[in-house]
Symmetry: C2
Subunit: 179 residues, 2 copies
């Protein structure tokens, strides 16, 4: 079995683009497939899908649907900010699995409009963020590696964990995809 | 508040090293601090710590202690394989929070013995893995970005989610650290 996540023609050198757009797109496709399994699980057991999308691991923790929304936002925000294009606004109105899959699809569509040349070389780019009451200054590489990627993976893994905890039959291979 | 995850002197260009060793070390330190909070939680409520380290989100999912062990193994393995040094063997004998923190500490110590020059430029290095019955061939960058990093974050986030689900008072800031 030969791995084929990144085509050999483009895989020569690690870059800001290689570390962001293709990685986010790949994980978001995996998340979308996980939602398919969750929907099939709900249908087979006649569970209202909105029960699953609103499940939480703890009362003051965000529900599954918000984990998906924030994962999408984390991906689109860092890609847009590095590329110096406007971050597209996506309202958080999703309730069903189909809604969440559409949110994921439009996130993938957006980040794939950004070309490597727009993201590569942004290691030292100044990124100023207002996070609620806090303001944070990052350099591009620090923002991508130290904030955006861990934040993205946190929410994808937590969406997975919520579904797994509630009996959806998924395994780590669904999370990692098939590299 | 100014971010300071990566010192400006070394942050100029993304590289295989920058994307691996400092990121793994930073997240493992965050995980160690999360275990401190879990231990304090157990002590305050007179819960046997082994109850918390053995908790699972589902009967056929690995317990919290295994999530920590596998996160450590994921970090040490990719760093060692990229650098062409032997992967250190760490037996999975941990039961207490102190044990798990020691496992994390020795993982950080090991990966920090590896120098940037040993890891940089390994994007195209051939990595052959036996994963149970499967054999997988990766290139270095693909192995790091497409397998090792998502796998690492998966286990750190799942350790966090297990503790969070069981009432330990932690938030995403504990996971992300203080960038």
């Amino acid at each position: 079995m030969r791995a084929s996540l990144i085509s050999p023609e483009t895989a020569v050198t690690i870059s800001m683009y290689q570390t962001s757009v293709p990685r986010f797109a790949s994980m978001l496709r995996n998340l979308s497939a996980i939602l398919d399994k969750a929907q099939a699980h709900a249908e087979a057991r006649k569970i209202d899908p909105a029960v699953l999308t609103n499940l939480r691991l703890y009362p003051d923790m965000l529900p599954m649907k918000r984990q998906v929304q924030i994962a999408c936002d984390s991906a689109k925000s860092v890609v847009a900010r590095l590329a110096d294009v406007e971050v597209p606004k996506h309202e958080d109105t999703e309730e069903t699995f189909a809604d969440l899959k559409a949110r994921i699809a439009k996130t993938i569509d957006f980040i794939q409009t950004v070309k490597p040349a727009q993201v590569d070389g942004t290691e030292e780019k100044n990124i100023h963020l207002k996070l609620g009451s806090r303001e944070v200054d990052y350099k591009g590489m620090q923002y991508l590696l130290g904030h955006a990627l861990p934040n993205f993976y946190f929410h994808v893994a937590t969406a997975y964990d919520i579904l797994r905890h509630n009996g959806v039959e998924i395994g780590k291979r669904d999370f990692l995809g098939n590299p």
